[in-house]
């Protein structure tokens, strides 16, 4: 391999230039095709944004494809007020935030025992935990619904936080156990010699080192929970407890009579995640990959 590399060096320096000259036209075609496909992918977002700010008269006169000739926030304001969007946003943030914290803490504790403590049966536990990822939520939902009613947790955000938090723990345990299995033992042994307890080692030695990974994990859990649908749909029946995702789901097909209103609803429904995406784009795209390969 090394020989090939050294042989190819002088040729390689010419080859790309050649390559570029020859394919000068092709490369622009490829780029154009990519831009058109990306445009197609993002088109629904632009459509929603354009039409959400039109007056119904403008929409009726010029159709959905025209640039807005008017600027009118009535549809957005109406949707916001009608579904009490402030409340939905607050609920979503509260539920997603608490779930992310709960799931990260549970994953960390599990992974500490499996990866650092090497408890007997740790590998088996990891395999059993896979059930939480694989089992369809429908297979858990009715017993959970019944249990929640029995213990008075029905229609409470706490039930949703506990359920989704535990379900996400399986993924977190996986990821963190594989990280912790390769954690340098010397650091832990040094702490043990200093008479640090297990609890102290976890919080004062391991957590600071793992902070970036934990942050990625928390970001993921936050967004997954934000997008979660079936569990909040079943558990959060009162309007006051609903999340953005459920509010959007319940709305579906409700008022197709007024296209600008639906555009406004779609725009508001997707905006929070688009904002998260712009903030966490790098973290997310890298994290997906890291999670998948582990």
């Amino acid at each position: 391999m090394a020989a090939t590399a050294s042989l190819s060096t002088p040729i390689a320096s010419d080859a790309p230039a050649d390559h570029r000259r020859n394919k000068g036209f092709t490369r622009w075609i490829v780029l154009a095709i990519l831009f058109v496909s990306l445009g197609g992918t993002l088109f629904p977002f632009f459509l929603a944004a354009f039409n959400a700010i039109k007056t119904p008269a403008d929409y009726a006169a010029n159709g959905p494809l025209a640039f807005p000739h008017s600027f009118d926030l009535t549809a957005l304001k109406n949707f916001w007020a009608n579904v009490d969007f402030t409340r939905k946003l607050f609920n979503s943030i509260l539920i997603s935030g608490c779930t992310a914290i709960l799931a990260v803490v549970l994953s960390l504790l599990n992974a500490y025992a499996i990866g650092i403590g090497r408890v007997r049966g740790g590998r088996v536990l990891l395999v059993i935990l896979l059930i939480s990822i694989m089992a369809p939520q429908e297979a858990l939902i009715y017993p959970l619904y019944y249990m929640a009613k029995q213990v008075g947790l029905f229609d409470s955000m706490l039930s949703v936080i506990l359920i989704i938090g535990v379900l996400h723990t399986a993924f977190g345990t996986y990821l963190l156990s594989s990280v912790l299995t390769t954690f340098p033992r010397e650091i832990i042994e040094a702490a043990q010699i200093d008479n640090a307890s297990r609890w102290q080692i976890l919080w004062l030695v391991i957590v600071p080192v793992l902070r970036p990974t934990l942050a990625v994990l928390a970001t993921f859990f936050f967004i997954w929970t934000w997008n979660e649908f079936l569990i909040p749909l079943v558990f959060l029946v009162s309007n006051n407890n609903q999340t953005v995702s459920v509010a959007m789901g319940v709305l579906s097909g409700a008022n197709t009579q007024d296209p600008t209103a639906v555009a406004a609803a779609s725009l508001l429904g997707v905006t929070p995640t688009v904002i998260f995406f712009l903030i966490f784009q790098r973290t997310l795209t890298r994290g997906v990959a890291a999670g998948a390969v582990k």
């Binding site: 090939t4 403590g117 017993p143 579906s252 197709t256």
Partner: protein, 300 residues
């Protein structure tokens, strides 16, 4: 020495206690309960009555259930197969062509753009697409604008088109996930492989076929497994776009069990559907993980 080591390990069990307690209460017990309920007839109130395999027998002759299985197969195409193919091509183009010709930044820009639909709440994506696909929506407006009026349809309301319309939305959602995973896999590939192939005058397709795909096999496995599991569970897009209709033309097992649990209150029957679904998913998962471990053994 040995003794202290053992008791040292035992202490760590305290740390998995909360996680395991949660797992038992929220996954294991409900799963077993659901399995048990599937052998009963129950309205959700009163005492469930044991009826043996009757729910399963009824499933075998339920046209809606068989339809839902067929639809799942179609969704496997739109959730797993098509996105993997499109994701592979896109990833290869971005990695081995755009990066080389136009630079890293542009290729990450494309990657991010194609990934965006993947992180939306499915319900918000559903409202957006419901609005685009409705009879007075964008798709029909475009067709009208380019003089193809006769192709305009009630995309989600017509039993013969609804499943394809929903499939198209699912492809739109899924491509980004495959793309991102594949691109990170390609980062592992030794660039000299591509250089050598280029010197041998291998065509782009040749490099794709003989370098990209074989190198990405581990990622393809992972993506296939995760998207297959997701395809078997697909629920929110159906709920939002069509509610399983028109005439059960888009119903899936998840929607069917949700419907019987909470609308018709045939809890035992719904439990039977979701139990079958669980068994199929777990069998598929085990099969895939086996294949994967065989494959990696072969490589070593």
């Amino acid at each position: 020495m040995e003794k202290s080591k053992n008791s040292g390990r035992a202490g760590y069990y305290l740390y998995i206690l909360p996680g395991m307690l949660g797992f038992a209460l929220i996954v294991l017990v409900p799963l077993i309960a659901n399995f048990a309920i599937s052998f009963t007839t129950w309205k959700g109130i009163g005492t469930p009555r044991y009826i043996g395999l009757q729910n399963y027998e009824r499933l075998l002759v339920d046209a809606a259930f068989w339809g839902s299985i067929q639809h799942t197969l179609i969704f496997i195409i739109s959730m797993t197969i098509l996105p993997i193919i499109l994701g592979l091509v896109l990833a290869a183009v971005l990695f081995d062509y755009i990066s080389a010709q136009f630079g890293e930044t542009l290729s990450s820009f494309f990657r991010a753009g194609f990934y965006l639909p993947q992180i939306l709440p499915l319900t918000a994506a559903g409202v957006l697409w419901g609005w685009i696909l409705n009879p007075i929506g964008i798709v029909n407006a475009v067709l009208k604008a380019i003089g193809l009026d006769f192709m305009a349809q009630n995309w989600l309301g017509d039993a013969s088109y609804a499943i394809w319309a929903v499939s198209a939305v699912i492809v739109w959602i899924q491509v980004g996930y495959c793309l991102v995973v594949f691109m990170s896999g390609l980062a592992r590939v030794d660039p000299s492989l591509y250089e050598a192939a280029e010197l041998d005058n291998a065509s782009w397709f040749g490099r794709f076929r003989y370098i990209t795909i074989p190198m990405l096999m581990p990622e393809i496995f992972v993506v296939a497994l995760t998207t297959l599991i997701a395809a078997l569970k697909v629920f929110a897009p159906i709920y939002v776009l069509t509610s399983g209709g028109p005439d059960n033309a888009t119903t899936v097992p998840s929607y069917l069990s949700y419907y019987h649990f909470f609308t018709t209150n045939r809890v035992g029957y719904a439990a039977a559907i979701s139990t079958l679904q669980t068994l199929v998913t777990i069998m598929l998962g085990v099969f895939f993980l086996r294949m994967q471990s065989k494959q990696t053994e072969g490589e070593r």
